[in-house]
Amino acid sequence: MKMNELSAVQEAATMQWKRVCRVEEIPHLGARVVKSTGGGIAVFRNAEDEIFALHDRCPHKGGPLSQGIVFARTVACPLHNWHIGLCDGKAVAPDEGCTRRYEVKVEQGEVYLLV
């Protein structure tokens, strides 16, 4: 087994659901940044109260996606206006690239993140 596969398995084994905040602490069509060891995680809330979580780095030049304008299920990176899908972390064509996605869930108005 290669090193990176090994660490992925180890990571999966140690991951657990952690409470982040209440849904209303994230603005509609906005985001909050959650500190983590591997860099920030951007937790988004759209107009329909859907919650998404992405690694807070644009696949283009590392811009903080949490600071972008959110619309529908997309965020526009504040640095160069790449559009990133909130569901899958993928850049909207014709741009190409992908940022890491995190599992997120809402229970009784509380947002949980699998980290």
């Binding site: 982040v20 069509l29 304008i69 619309f71």
Partner: protein
């Protein structure tokens, strides 16, 4: 739910473009079936000439290959011409018996070449020039035969003749009229074109009427004219024109004139049946060029997609000859009449001829030969009906401001090698742009921006990118008429229409505006939301709540985001004047928050770079200075020179004037950033000539200049008025800025706004009409009265969530 059934007959550029537009706005509405008479999927018909000339291959000109139809769930029947429409049973029947039921039918049957009704027209070796099959037949003939005759000296005929000559044939062009391309060119330009084609080896027989095509053994052997003469020929290409293909519609009982008659919504007289492209007759006009097809496609898709708001109102077209080495452009009414004027530049030796036809101070036609760089620019002004005014003096010399920086001073795309960088912001070379245009079948500036990023940042190379687009796709490129350009992909309404609705309907929130204006997207996009937020607040400053989530991050965090995600902090220094106390506080803040870079800005203040977002409120509190709005579409600085208080040349107190202006107008949001300057004498050390509002003190008062720009597009400000007192400076400058705030499109600088409406209009509103000026200024002061310092608000705890990170 069962989906509605859409059948399209004809698989050319107009039809396929309509489907693309339809899928974009209503992807799930229809089950789509397409019948095409050719065995190829959709290709770029206008690029057949480069294929004939051997400059491109068939593969290069495909727009939608078969897999595109499959990917979009479209059933595609190639090589199946439709022979009957049964309107009662709502079905179409193809030549091979295939039947298809429809709920909506789209006719895009295109046009067919006109064939002279003369003896010998059916002989082997007599071709028309319309599709891939014709092109292939010509290429094949050129390999086996030597002598070609092209009948028709129009655009298509000349391109065919050029292609055949390049493939080694001896080509004679026969033309009925006294000069070539008489529908696009005047005699002078046509003469220059003819000479240049003659040097390429073509021969011409003008004013010759073909009476018969002579054959031997079933194949063409000569062409005979009505004067009795004849010339030998192994290949004859008839390129005398096209006519709409309306026979199918006619046989189905649809009202047809020269083409299928459609309304402004692209509907035929049977409301279930739409038609687009060269097969239609719209307001009595038929079109044989590609650009209008795209406009029709957009409107048709809008109605098929049940949005129901577009209207096609006809097109002004332009022509560009696609013969390598010959630059020719023609648009509008180039021959003029009794009430027109002409501006002509003719350099016979240099091979340049330009003629602009004007009526009532507007361009109505243009013919360019030899130097067509400015064709798109003239065409844009023609379509927009823009008044020429002061431009008249240098109109002939082209768009001088094309690309100020970032592309080595080049302003002619044709002269650039493929490796040269066009877009200095995104590092895009000319070759990359050309490749993207060809490979992806791009036709609009927006498409090129999406695919290549060229001209998508500062936009100063837009003119160059447009030139590249125009020269790559030829006549298919039409600049979007400014007057009808929609705000963004979420709506078909223009900025002006949206602003009007906001005012007249008293729309007070973004969701309300989007609902009323029937936005296509649930909450807009990163382009329209900030614009809407501004328009609402500008129209109703007291009633509208600001929406921070519809502001770009800089205006939400009240700092300027840097490439590493940190922010810059620029406190306000009114008129560029500071004090020991302020400087001490700044120095202490730099030490306390370990701010890595301190820089003096071009606007006479101090920039603290590299501040972490969570530190921003604390930094602001310790600075105890107001926000400099260095991050916002708002008043930035008022730059001043020292003026009469110290300077031995100064005649006015420019520093105090600048401080007063900045105090009055700080916190003022605008469509884009606004910069001002005040100089104390005509030496103009504060550089008032390149500011949105520039004030210059003279012995007897103050001169006010507007619409200048020092950055993205260097532009000297224009003289607005001379006034006597400081109070007048305030009122005139304020009224001008309010006019800009109320009427400019979001992200237009004053230079763009003044260019669009003209200085005369601005003078009418601000100088000539005291009541108008007074009201404008009063509205500005009213809007400013509700603005609070954003840093002070956040120090006091507003929007705390913006600056606090969460942890788990």
């Amino acid at each position: 739910m069962k989906r509605t059934k859409l059948v399209m007959v004809g698989n050319g550029m107009a039809g396929a473009r309509t489907l693309e537009e339809l899928l974009r706005i209503a992807p799930d509405l229809y089950d789509i079936t397409v019948f095409g008479a050719e065995r190829h999927a959709n290709y770029n018909r206008i690029l057949l000439s480069p294929v004939l000339a051997g400059e491109m291959t068939l593969k290069d000109i495909m727009l939608n290959e078969e897999q595109w139809y499959a990917q979009n769930g479209i059933a595609l029947h190639l090589n199946k011409p439709v022979v009957k429409i049964d309107r009662a049973a709502r079905k179409v029947i193809a030549l091979d018996g295939t039947e298809e039921h429809y709920d909506r039918l789209l006719l895009a049957t295109g046009s067919q070449p006109v064939i002279l009704p003369i003896p010998g027209k059916d002989l082997e070796g007599v071709l028309s020039y319309r599709d891939i099959a014709d092109t292939e037949a010509m290429i094949e003939a050129s390999a086996r035969y030597k002598r070609a005759v092209v009948i028709g000296g129009g655009l298509l005929g000349l391109e065919a003749a050029n292609g055949l000559a390049l493939r080694g044939m001896d080509v004679t062009v026969v033309h009925l009229m006294p000069w070539l391309m008489e529908r696009q060119l005047d005699r002078t330009a046509a003469g220059m074109l003819q000479r240049s084609l003659e040097t390429k080896g073509l021969r011409f027989l003008l004013e010759h009427k073909t009476s018969e095509i002579v054959g031997g053994d079933g194949r063409v052997s000569a062409v005979r004219f009505d004067n009795g003469s004849e010339i030998a020929a192994d290949l004859v290409v008839m390129a005398i024109g096209i006519k709409p293909n309306a026979a199918l519609a006619q046989s189905a009982g649809l009202h047809c004139t020269r083409g299928v008659v459609v309304s402004d919504t692209m509907q035929t007289h049977d409301p279930r049946i739409y038609a687009v492209g060269e097969c239609i007759a719209h307001r009595g006009t038929t079109y044989g060029l590609v650009a209008p097809l795209f406009e029709m496609a957009k409107v048709c898709a809008n109605h098929l997609g049940r949005f129901g708001i577009g209207r096609y109102e006809g097109s002004v077209t332009s022509t560009k000859l696609k013969v390598t080495g010959i630059d020719l452009f023609s648009a509008g009414d180039f021959s003029g009449g009794v009430d027109t004027e002409e501006i002509v530049l003719h350099d016979a030796v240099g091979g340049v001829y330009k003629k602009l036809v004007l009526r009532n101070d507007k361009i109505i036609g243009a013919v360019l030969y030899g130097d067509t760089v400015d064709g798109a620019w003239y065409f844009q002004m023609l379509r927009d009906g823009q008044a020429i005014g002061d431009l008249r003096d240098h109109l002939m010399f082209g768009q001088s401001h094309l690309g100020n920086s970032g592309h080595q001073g080049q302003d002619k795309a044709v002269a650039m090698p493929d490796t040269m960088e066009v877009c200095g912001c995104n590092g895009v070379a000319k070759g990359t742009i050309v490749k993207a245009i060809k490979e992806n079948g791009l036709f609009t500036l927006d498409d090129v921006r999406k695919h290549t990023k060229a001209s998508s940042s500062c936009g100063s190379c837009t003119g160059l990118v447009e030139q590249i687009l125009a020269s790559t796709v030829g006549g298919a490129y039409t600049p979007q008429a400014n007057a009808t350009k929609p705000m963004c992909g979420c709506t078909d309404f223009t900025h002006e229409a949206v602003r009007r609705a906001v005012r007249e309907q008293k729309l007070l929130s973004i969701p309300q505006a989007m609902h009323f204006l029937e936005w296509r997207t649930p909450n807009g996009c990163a382009s329209c939301r900030p614009a809407l937020n501004y328009y609402l607040r500008c129209a109703w400053p007291h009633e509208v709540q600001d929406d921070p989530q519809s502001r770009f991050i800089n205006e939400r965090a009240h700092g300027n985001i840097q490439r590493d995600g940190t922010y810059s902090v620029v406190p306000r220094m009114f008129g560029g004047v500071t004090s020991a106390a302020e400087l001490r506080r700044i120095a202490d803040v730099v030490d306390k928050y370990k701010i890595p870079t301190v820089k003096v800005t071009g606007g006479q203040r101090i920039d603290l770079l590299g501040v972490r977002k969570e530190d921003l409120p604390k930094v602001w509190a310790d600075l105890d200075m107001p926000s400099g709005y260095a991050y916002a579409k708002a008043l930035r600085t008022v730059k001043t020179c020292v003026g009469s208080e110290w300077c031995r040349f100064g005649v006015q107190d420019s520093t105090q004037m600048g401080i007063d202006l900045e105090r009055k107008m700080s916190r003022m949001y605008a469509p884009h950033k606004v910069k001002m300057a005040v100089s104390g004498c005509p030496r103009n050390c504060a550089e008032s000539g390149i500011k949105d509002v520039g004030v210059i003190g003279v012995e007897s008062g103050w001169e006010i200049y507007v619409g200048g720009n020092g950055g993205i597009k260097t532009e000297v400000a224009q003289f607005l008025v001379k006034v006597k007192t400081a109070e007048e400076v305030m009122e005139y400058a304020g009224a001008f800025i309010q006019l800009y705030r109320e009427e400019a499109r979001y992200l237009d600088r004053t230079v763009h706004y003044v260019h669009r409406v003209g200085l005369d209009y601005v003078k009418k509103k601000v100088v000539d009409d005291p009541e108008s000026r007074r009201l404008l200024y009063a509205r500005l002061l009213d809007a400013l009265s509700v603005e609070k310092d954003p840093w002070a608000e956040r120090i006091a705890g507003a929007a705390r969530h913006e600056f606090e990170e969460l942890s788990v």
